[in-house]
Symmetry: C3
Subunit: 416 residues, 3 copies
């Protein structure tokens, strides 16, 4: 398809039909993609990493958001810092590797040297008039929400992060992610638009037909269902389990009730603690814990899964024994990185307390299944024959909310 003009994007946004999937251009157009990078990924808080990736001063990681490489590090005062990974001399990338440890940040080209707070502390040959203080690294906003690292590339980030943090801290704190270590991290590149990846995450209508491993521990009624005489008994039973589980967990000091503000605020999110099937402990092949060292102040392995979904680009499942986090980062209109990180207690010993293959099996399989679904969707919407179709009012409400949030934010930031 030929590409869009900005005015056409405004038209597309205006004529979006509620309850229906988006127009093809939202998944295919390079102009929309550039606008997504600028307005969605450039103006909102995006989830990029977990603190256990950089536990010590000098530890760093780099994260690519579109063409922008961001360097995230922990300084000597134990504070998180984020910078554009670009030398202020002639623009060389500073750190080419995805993770490492440094004393200072030294550009490989001409050895311009910055400290971990981004100040330029050493250069040669630049003459007497050169002012080091004018050539520090460009900073990026960075915040940790109980160990989940969010960055914002905008000059002035959305102010409602603080409120999300206040609401979410009681849910997340008991799992104490900051006291975890990374047990595994996997990156996959899906040949589909980032919004198809997110939409896929926001419904489980596709789970029964596609995710045999995941549905071992997930209750099928937990993600929406059209009521019918045939399923009335099953749904009632699930509602009962949910109510009893929530009562039990709340009594342990584990907040469990749903908060759902996905499309009603700038920093949209949703959370809920959901019971798990079978052993009821963890998203594994037998639903038992994958790591014997329970997290934080949790002592009962059967506390279900606390899920946390954020707009525009993440979801997380906090269980008694491990946390699994997903960060979605756009690469091209039809290419998206999904980075999955599994964390266990920092004192858990591999081979003794946990086995990486067992820990990662469900989500590695599920990610691969979702990758295929996303890729088939990308191929299909690229056909001239695609037209937006209706969402299920029972099972695709959160997809609709993702699209509402996206369209609403784009309209707000793209005045016609």
């Amino acid at each position: 398809m030929s590409d869009l003009k900005v005015s056409q994007l405004a038209d597309l946004l205006q004529r979006r039909r509620p309850g229906y999937s988006l127009d093809a251009a939202f998944y295919l157009s390079d102009a929309v993609f550039q606008s997504d990078l600028k307005h969605i990924f450039g103006q909102h808080w995006i989830f990029v990493a977990v603190e256990p990736q950089i536990p010590e001063p000098g530890d760093f990681i780099t994260v690519d958001v579109g063409k922008q490489s961001i360097l995230i590090t922990r300084d000597d005062d134990d504070q998180l810092q984020a910078f554009h990974n670009v030398c202020r001399h002639r623009g060389s990338r500073l750190c080419a590797s995805h993770k490492g440890m440094v004393g200072n940040i030294v550009c490989p080209y001409h050895q311009w040297t910055y400290d971990l707070k981004g100040s330029l502390i050493h250069v040669e040959h630049m003459g007497e008039g050169f002012k080091k203080e004018d050539h520090g690294l460009k900073k990026v906003h960075v915040r940790s929400l109980e160990g989940l690292i969010f960055i914002c590339l905008a000059e002035t980030p959305p102010a409602d992060f603080e409120d999300m943090a206040q609401q979410m801290t009681p849910y997340l704190a008991p799992h104490r992610l900051k006291d975890c270590k990374v047990a595994a991290q996997v990156e996959i590149v899906e040949k589909g638009n980032w919004k198809l990846v997110m939409e896929n995450n926001r419904e489980c209508y596709h789970c029964v037909g596609n995710h045999p491993e995941l549905t071992l521990s997930l209750y099928e009624y937990g993600f929406g269902y059209q009521p019918s005489p045939a399923n009335a008994e099953g749904m009632a039973r699930f509602r009962d389990i949910l109510a009893k589980s929530h009562a039990r967990w709340e009594a342990m000091g584990l907040p469990s009730a749903e908060i759902e503000v996905l499309d009603s605020r700038v920093t949209g999110f949703r959370t809920q603690r959901l019971p798990l099937d079978r052993a009821g402990q963890s998203q594994t092949m037998n639903a038992e814990v994958a790591s014997k060292k329970l997290l934080g102040r949790i002592t009962d392995p059967a506390v279900g899964g606390l899920s946390f979904w954020t707009q525009p680009n993440s979801w997380h499942h906090f269980m008694s024994d491990h946390v699994v986090s997903f960060s979605v980062l756009p690469i091209a209109p039809g290419e998206t990185l999904v980075r999955t990180t599994w964390c266990v207690h920092k004192d858990a010993v591999e081979g003794v307390d946990y086995d990486v293959a067992n820990l990662t099996k469900v989500w590695n399989a599920t990610n691969d299944q979702d990758r295929r679904l996303v890729e088939e969707s990308q191929v299909g919407v690229a056909s001239g024959a695609y037209e937006p179709g209706p969402y299920s009012p029972y099972t695709e409400e959160l997809v609709e909310k993702f699209c509402n949030w996206y369209v609403g934010r784009m309209r707000a930031l793209n005045p016609v």
Copy 2:
């Protein structure tokens, strides 16, 4: 080169110089390529498959025309059906594989289920107000001409297909392609524009210098020659063989005379039954039949080769023992799929009646030689130094007619 505006395409079409190859932009420009997909491949009958690929109800194939995936199947009433291979829910591709057999067409994403006539017969969770009858698959026009399957993506296809069918049926019917089976199918991707692939097919000026295998059975005088004292005797001898062969074949009930309407109608085509050299039976390395079971009602192996060329994208050679068909499908301005299919009698037994390597040797070699020629042409015309050069009035008349047809159709569909 920078890309074209639509107005520039109209200019290019207007100033095309008859008798000369096309301007470089026709082979390079993405705007022209999109226009080719829309106007040439989107508005004409295009050859995509043979019936022996889907002999039984439930058999299906998928064919990509540009970004559009088309699903072609045989329904339970033995009728051919063609659909856009796109679910009416959220647009997932329905069938990812190129061929297979199904009872119904089930979308892998959320199991929306369509029957073989394209009706949506089963969905879950869509609520009471949802109307299945509004969400059937989008149909594509499909026609078989004696086993050759053509589709048309336009809402209203060119009406003159019927007339072509009436003229061609007497030529094709004796070979009874519908009673054949596919012995081999090969896809190659040529790094050249689809029009260079077609132009290459429309002349044999290049055959002597490039196709040692093909010219074992082809008479060099059969495809145009500048008369000269040196070749007067050879040409006279060929005319004599041609006249005698035609008389003999017509007496057998095999129409052989040329029909040539390549640039004088919307559904342009050409046919002619031409004698073969040496054993005179088939396009093989020794010009003898490759399959012992002769086709249809043919009993004499030496009936030459009935060639059938269609605009915009196919050619076929029907011989006594096998049919070889070529479908040309554009992928990108500089990338084209050529799918070659060899069919033999459905009762012929591999290893007994025919050997696949022997059957396919001439055209596999020839295709590869043509691929190289097309690719060198693509590289050459991409040079700023290329300018359209003159066609031979003796050996490149059919190339000229291909270009005439193409330019004429584009002018007709692209009013300035």
Copy 3:
């Protein structure tokens, strides 16, 4: 980034800040790249090969400048000829291989045959009215400067080549490159804009930190240094060595003084004969000659390195025993070919007088190091966070002159 309009390029050129690196668009934009091909590589003398690559009549090479393939050959009168490598019939590339030997130039498609002066001497089937004399190959200007082959794609090339030739001949002639043979040639593709490749070549600020092999023989003071008490003695010593070496070499008849007209003329260049460290003979790992047969009329191995830099795309080091030449050719906005050619005396015997691994070790290592630096710069400037940074007034003067020349030439050829 979205791409530029021509008017924006003019703006970018106008607002270029002297003393600072270029705006990101100069390295990223496809519109700028096309303009670079048209105005810089299409209107200037560019270095593409050395005469020892085509020593005999009929020898040819092909060189790609953007999408244009150029055929360079030596005709039967021992004259260099350059043509667009495109058949005048239907535009096929004539010679697909990068080098070879031919009697005539025969198009592989329909055997149109041209002699080594580009005249069409044989065609078939083109009819009586066809004029061969109207269909000769399109010529490209070609000049040899003491064995260094430059071409110019413009109709009227810059006239100041002659003056450069007159100034440079006394420097180059003693090494007699025409009496050399090619000992090795290596092509690498760097994932960076061609200007980043050139800028990298125009400074040695990065050498100490990145080129351990090259700096064995290069004096670090030879390429600019900020004076300081700590290095005053070292710089004084280097100035002394330079003065004494120049006196000694001039006495031998080897001109050594700097000529620096990089940004003050259309065909900008610079030359200087610089002493080498350690054994002082050649750019090898021990600074001794790599080939025992000294070049031309040179009898003393310790004559340093005569460097010759040209705008827009080459540099060369002429030593007593070998010549190493670098040709930079743009492929895409972020992709550049660097072709390195090592020549030794034509009578030198491999394995006896020289060893290829030893001859090429320093520059193969250095090229690879530079490739990495260029690629990291390309990644960095592609980040939205890059802004032009200051050049060192001591070590990056020649980078500034390269940019001055580039911006000046673009302004001159792109009237707003």
